[in-house]
Subunit: 469 residues, 2 copies
């Protein structure tokens, strides 16, 4: 993968993920195969969130007066908001914003829904499209103007402690998701100058792309009582007093799909983790003039037995030579290919080829075949996970000398550095290196002897810095 | 249900379906319970469409130049389109429309995707939000400005015959959906003055609401080659000549959910068909001081055994008296309530109460219980279906005298009438009765002796007319 950017652009087209020729910059079409990947990702996310959150759906449009209520928040988004000014031929009385995120759509309703501590906690989520008028260079799935797959959670609690705990829950949910997709991540407490507009603090997940740039793939925010005060979200506590709610919100988007494509793929095409592969197994019958029906019938039998274990499987019975089929299956990233020809049938075995490492081997056709295949899919997942994390961990480097910071990050690494924690130092480092501080990676003990890489004063944290998307 | 409009408005609130207090007229919030109903409806629809269509997702925004390309089409929508004029503080070079429907978003891409007859047929669908700046009185789920649940199919074929056949397929799919939801319908070929802007003909499904007004709940359009010509959707046919594609599109929306609520509900609340009920069975343990644990443990055992048959079931173990729980379960419309107290446990039986007809009876707690419950749910579905269709069929009346047309439809009926088929007669009848012609219900034989109710000339069709939403 010499030129990642080109590779990424090509794979989206050749693997039938999205079509970026739509006549508006930064807005693309999900094609059928890409949509299936997105769907499996969404299904998994939904199952996970449904355990402890209620799915809801709020309107896309937000009146200007609501969006403007929370001053810090609106400042963070005002340059990126799409505005509707007309309905039909008529100018609207009030401009309507396309949600850039949904705090200002959801919280006025929370204010109506919450009366007492018994109404709390509230934990809702929605999976929606959101819009940002990006002025930077757009890239499909990475920096877009219509975020088609924004999954955002919003919670309200009756104490600060509970909200803090919910932040941890959010983090655990995202760890689970990324583990299931074999996407490695760094968790950082974002620096104050880069937290979510209106939040007390922002915990972010970043992953690293093959070109050495990091991409933010999820964030969890503790909102404190800022929005509650703006939108009058109050509850009567157990003591009968009125108190503002304590809020969190967390979300992720299309970038997760961008990441799983970018991190696992190779020059032959996609490599999909079994979790999201539209077809986890593709069976290719190797047909000769003789014995076609027997081979096909055995393929169908194997397909059925795999489906009984909820494995997503198809038979590629197109009238093409096997080589072309292998090419397609590799390009589309199906984790496992099974081949079955008349000779194999005679020997009562199938040939399989793993997409993750190209390993070719065989398995007996017997009652254990479905379970063996299921196990193989798990092995493939684990291998993708281990490979991705190994590579990721190699990309992390502790840099103790300031003059090495720039070169290390330019080598495509996330550099860890000792930091006093002051905004001034953080911003100076960003400026000198032309990189972005991801945030606090770890806090140091009070009695540490480490000193800030910039100012030389006692360090408080290990910070992280990288080239970012 | 004395005042349907009031009942409908109340039930949406009390049953936790949607919240219409959102600060934009015609846009509402899906609350958790309503969202679950919508989700089961969507899941069923998705399964059905996935058999022969590919799910995709196209951008929400459409450049003015694309929307304007098809003249007849844009005329039909121009008064209802929301326009984005600004991104951030900047005025956009070109106005962007929020899709009122997606022909003009999808067809430019079809033009890129289709080259040859081997690329056809294309059958894609998407489930999206769409927007209409309605100037008429809005009503939640019925006449809204954000249609949150628009499921639209778009197909391209290599012959007119195939497109005609696809229209029939679309009709069959919708029949299946409405049957599953026990929603009765009338299928009409819409009059020319009411067909979809740009279509050759429009087949529509209407149902009738308790207030006697009909609601259009699905439409299937044969688009001919009109859009293909506008958007240059051509293919090389088998003879090597370039030909325009033959298109259809069909869709339905939130109105389906409005209908199932309106048609089945009663004064106690919702009555949900098992297909879409978030909980198909709710178990209420009847607890006394003695034997609580035994009762609860048996409830959990029964729950597990029902879940094994994929029945959606919950235990209402809230610390409330049973009467309050029964009230809630009835309001939320769960098809079946199961009660289990210590005496029942002794007698090894459960009490069940059907929501559709209030019938109270008992079943033995044995290995057959899950299957018996499953059968009971099917019986409930069939009863809802039969009841709804019986009532619907009573609402259809053939009217032979013109002077009775108005009074019959005002009685809350759909009137069938003999019609020559001329637009002039159709529109005159609409004007005189202040009703809407739904369309052609049935064609008459050439040798019919029936005459048009308006002009007295030989009738060609049986038309249908009603008060509409």
């Amino acid at each position: 993968m010499e030129n990642f950017s080109e590779w990424f652009h090509n794979i989206l087209e050749t693997a039938d993920i999205i079509d970026s020729r739509y006549p508006i910059k930064g807005m693309s079409v999900w094609r059928p195969y890409g949509f299936q990947i997105r769907k499996h990702f969404y299904n998994y996310l939904t199952d996970l969130l449904d355990k402890d959150h209620d799915e809801t759906l709020f309107p896309l449009l937000i009146p200007e007066s609501e969006l403007a209520k929370e001053g810090i928040h609106v400042k963070g988004f005002e340059d990126e908001v799409y505005w509707i000014t007309h309905g039909g031929q008529k100018e609207l009385n009030e401009k309507l914003a396309l949600r850039p995120t949904s705090e200002t759509a959801i919280y006025p309703m929370f204010s109506l829904w919450i009366r007492s501590h018994i109404d709390l906690p509230i934990k809702v989520y929605q999976k929606v499209n959101t819009f940002r008028y990006e002025t930077k260079h757009t890239r499909p799935l990475i920096r877009v103007r219509e975020i088609t797959s924004f999954a955002e959670v919003h919670t309200v609690h009756s104490s600060a402690e509970e909200a803090d705990k919910q932040v941890q829950t959010g983090i655990e949910i995202y760890k689970d998701i990324f583990d299931k997709l074999a996407i490695p991540y760094l968790i950082s407490n974002r620096p104050v100058w880069d937290k979510f507009p209106g939040a007390e603090y922002t915990i972010a997940f970043d992953t690293i792309f093959p070109d050495g740039k990091t991409l933010q793939i999820a964030t969890v925010h503790n909102l404190g009582q800022t929005f509650a005060k703006t939108f009058d979200i109050t509850f009567e506590n157990k003591e009968g007093q009125h108190e503002y709610g304590y809020q969190t919100c967390y979300g992720l988007s299309d970038r997760v799909i961008a990441s799983l494509i970018a991190i696992h793929g190779d020059d032959k095409g996609l490599i999909l983790p079994p979790t999201v592969a539209p077809k986890q197994v593709v069976i290719v019958p190797i047909l000769f003039k003789k014995g076609q029906e027997e081979v096909l019938s055995k393929c169908r039998e194997i397909k059925k037995s795999l489906e009984d274990l909820n494995i997503r499987v198809s038979i590629d019975d197109r009238d093409l030579r096997p080589g072309k089929k292998f090419f397609d299956i590799e390009q589309k990233g199906s984790p496992l290919r099974i081949e079955l020809g008349p000779r194999d049938l005679e020997n009562n075995k199938i040939i399989y080829v793993r997409r993750d490492n190209g390993e070719k081997s065989e398995l007996s056709i017997d009652d254990d075949l479905p379970v063996n295949i299921k196990n193989l899919l798990n092995t493939i997942h684990d291998n993708l996970y281990d490979k991705a994390w190994a590579k990721f961990n190699e990309s992390l480097e502790l840099v103790e000398e300031k003059e090495n910071l720039k070169s290390t990050t330019e080598d495509g690494k996330i550099s860890k550095f000792y930091w006093c924690g002051d905004t001034e130092c953080g911003k100076a480092i960003e400026e000198e290196t032309d990189m972005d501080v991801l945030g606090i990676y770890e806090d140091l003990d009070d009695d540490t002897e480490k000193v800030c890489i910039h100012c030389g004063k006692k360090a408080k944290h290990i910070g992280s810095i990288a080239k970012t998307y």
